[in-house]
Symmetry: C2
Subunit: 241 residues, 2 copies
């Protein structure tokens, strides 16, 4: 490697580090949004919910900055295949984070309408547990990314099954509540959306982990990863069951 | 421009055209998946639904190929800022198409369980109208992309409001059906999911159109684009209303 090539290589690393710092900042904002959205529901804190909704703008702005920085980095440094893969993964991860932020914002939107209805026995707390689990997974996924730790990433993917199970349990619960008392229907529809949003957040965390595994091993994780939301195909979710 | 530069430029164009041909192929598969998913619901055609579910693999494979081709194109041709923007937009559009395909697959999954329940008065037909509208929007969005037609893209974005309105109407309808008769609850929960999935497809078509506008004008369309799903904030969706 000539001195000149080395100079180019380290300029790439420096630029990449700056982008990764933005990813971590974005991750921090998204983690907070997940917890705040779930907490605002449980404590009926409309002000906190409003804060989550407004905070999503900062998350979106970071994604845009990361995309621009990444495009500039590609254009300027013409990275090799391996380095290019890293830059592309950064763009994918920021897009996953943006989507998780969106789900948190959507959850927070429903807090104000749910605050006007009688709470549904225990569901808010269950939703918060689910959100906390997703939050922990996201933290670990971003750690795995920074440390290029494929084992940690694979572990997080496994944990997504717990989130899916929590979702399945909540879905059954909501059906039961709605059938017991039609006055529960509207609240349960909204709560169900929030549960589904949280379950989808888990899918996006999984997708981040798949990027990490791809970066480290060069291979996409096994296609046949277990899909945990059984409510779309499982016939036992019928009222007769 | 030297002869050598010209050679590089047209090599870029040739590679880009090959990628864009894959985008169009992917678009065709996704368009068919949307219509088939909605039709399989209305005609209770489980075989067609199964076909949609299986067909999603081809869509996913195309997205992966497009991403690889785009990365190779960037690495090989080191495109200028403007060309780079086009390549990045191709990746974003293929990711939007993949997500729409996913929603169609999820819809098709619910067909088998819904086929076992009594149909909900008129909802299947309403869902199919909504799917047909999204399908038309997608066709026009891809035309706008190929023709670099920002006006057409802006028109499609406007039409997404109709889809949002159809969704809002269906949401109210499902609430009513569920309150009238608890035996409708499970079917309505599934149908509601399908309606929400279709509404989200429209959002992804909008996102494709935003890419087109960005490509042509260099500007992101007005941030304040109207959000049509009012069910998350509108208090009139309570059973008292």
């Amino acid at each position: 490697m000539t001195a000149d090539e080395q100079h180019i290589a380290s300029a790439f690393d420096r630029d990449l580090e700056a982008i990764q710092a933005k990813i971590m900042k974005m991750g921090g904002l998204v983690e907070a949004a997940i917890l705040d959205a779930a907490q605002s529901l449980e404590t009926r804190d409309e002000e906190l919910a409003e804060q989550v909704r407004k905070g999503d703008k900062a998350i979106d702005a970071l994604e845009e900055m990361i995309n621009e920085d990444a495009a500039r980095l590609i254009a300027l440094r013409a990275p090799t295949a391996g380095d290019l893969r890293i830059v592309l993964s950064v763009m994918k991860i920021s897009s996953n984070l943006e989507r998780i932020g969106d789900y948190a914002k959507n959850m927070a939107k429903r807090t104000s309408i749910l605050a006007q209805m009688s709470p549904i026995n225990g569901s808010q707390a269950a939703l918060r547990r689910m959100a906390r689990e997703v939050n922990e997974m996201l933290k670990d996924a971003l750690d795995a990314y920074i440390q290029r730790d494929a084992v940690k990433a694979a572990d997080v993917i496994q944990r997504d099954q717990d989130v899916d199970q929590m979702y399945n349990a909540l879905f059954r619960e909501f059906l039961t509540f709605m059938m017991e008392d039609p006055r529960n229907i509207t609240a349960c529809m909204h709560l169900h959306f929030m549960a589904k949003n949280t379950e989808r957040m888990g899918d996006h965390v999984t997708s981040i982990c798949e990027q990490v595994i791809y970066l480290v091993t060069g291979e996409t994780p096994d296609e046949a990863r277990p899909k945990g939301d059984k409510t779309s195909t499982d016939a036992t979710f019928s009222p007769q069951a």
